[in-house]
Amino acid sequence: MSASTVPPADWLAAATAARAEGFTFCEWLAAVDEIGRPGGRDVLRVLLVLRHLERPTQTRVLATELDRDAPRLASLRTLFAGAGWHEREAGEMFGVEFVGGDARRLLLAAEFEGTPMRKDEVLGARSGSPWPGAKEPGESDASPSRRRMVPPGVPEAEVWGDRDPAAPAPGPAEVAGSAVGGRARRRRTR
């Protein structure tokens, strides 16, 4: 199931064409933050999975890549009413604006600030609470020594938290790349 990537401007037209070909069932729409992974880029990828109802094994996957700083995309809800639900979720979780879509929140509380599924979203409360995985096998207390383990979602303290106040604020790629968890690495740059 490989996705055909279209420019954001062609999103609605590509979905309309797929629907005309018989892919009339909107199965799934979601976003992926591509930042911070090896070879990752500064984009949000939006994916749409359509299914052919008469040939149910056939799917059509459309993808598009959005600028992380201003992610805007045409809504598909006039084409597939059910896509509106997925767009509301992707919208609030990744901060994507679906033009012509339903901007109401679906899952998040009204007062919640942030875009929790973006990879540079720091789980702040976690950086202040002890992580059960910090211990090594054979330990009952986390030793502050050696090659420290850090949990996913919490950037290394040198990047976020204990960062030198005089240093410039960390960029999204630096925060996301630092929050993947595992062995705390030595600073690669600077």
């Binding site: 976690r126 609470s129 992580w131 059960p132 995985g133 211990k135 090594e136 096998p137 054979g138 330990e139 009952s140 383990m149 949990p151 968890g181």
Partner: protein, 107 residues
């Protein structure tokens, strides 16, 4: 696959398989698994063999008030020491009672 077919009610610890490797505690997205262990010399080594140590599990705790039953620990355990259990965890009057240790998890 040990999934819904065999029941998804809770997670059972197979204590003799656990090597205290910490993989489950590190993979758990809800941070609900707590493990304490220590190392002991392996007894009864052949004469002249280099001294070796093994991990001994002291505490294995799942906090059911935090667990979201995602099963990642069951999938990730390299030693099949965690398994789906059809029976559900009993309701409890307080969240503290939902911290189950080795005794409850191997029952």
């Amino acid at each position: 696959m040990s999934g819904p077919a065999s029941g998804h009610g809770s997670i059972r610890l197979v204590e003799q398989n656990c090597t205290s490797c910490m993989v489950c505690a590190r993979e758990c997205p809800s941070w609900c698994i707590t493990i304490d262990s220590h190392t002991e010399p392996v007894p009864d080594l052949p004469a002249g063999a280099r001294e070796r140590t093994r991990n001994v599990l002291d505490r294995f705790e799942i906090d059911w008030s935090l667990c979201m039953y995602c099963g990642i620990c069951v999938e990730e355990c390299p030693f099949d020491a965690l398994a789906w259990e059809p029976a559900h965890t009993d309701a409890a009057p307080s969240a503290l009672v939902l911290r189950h240790g080795i005794d409850e998890l191997t029952r």
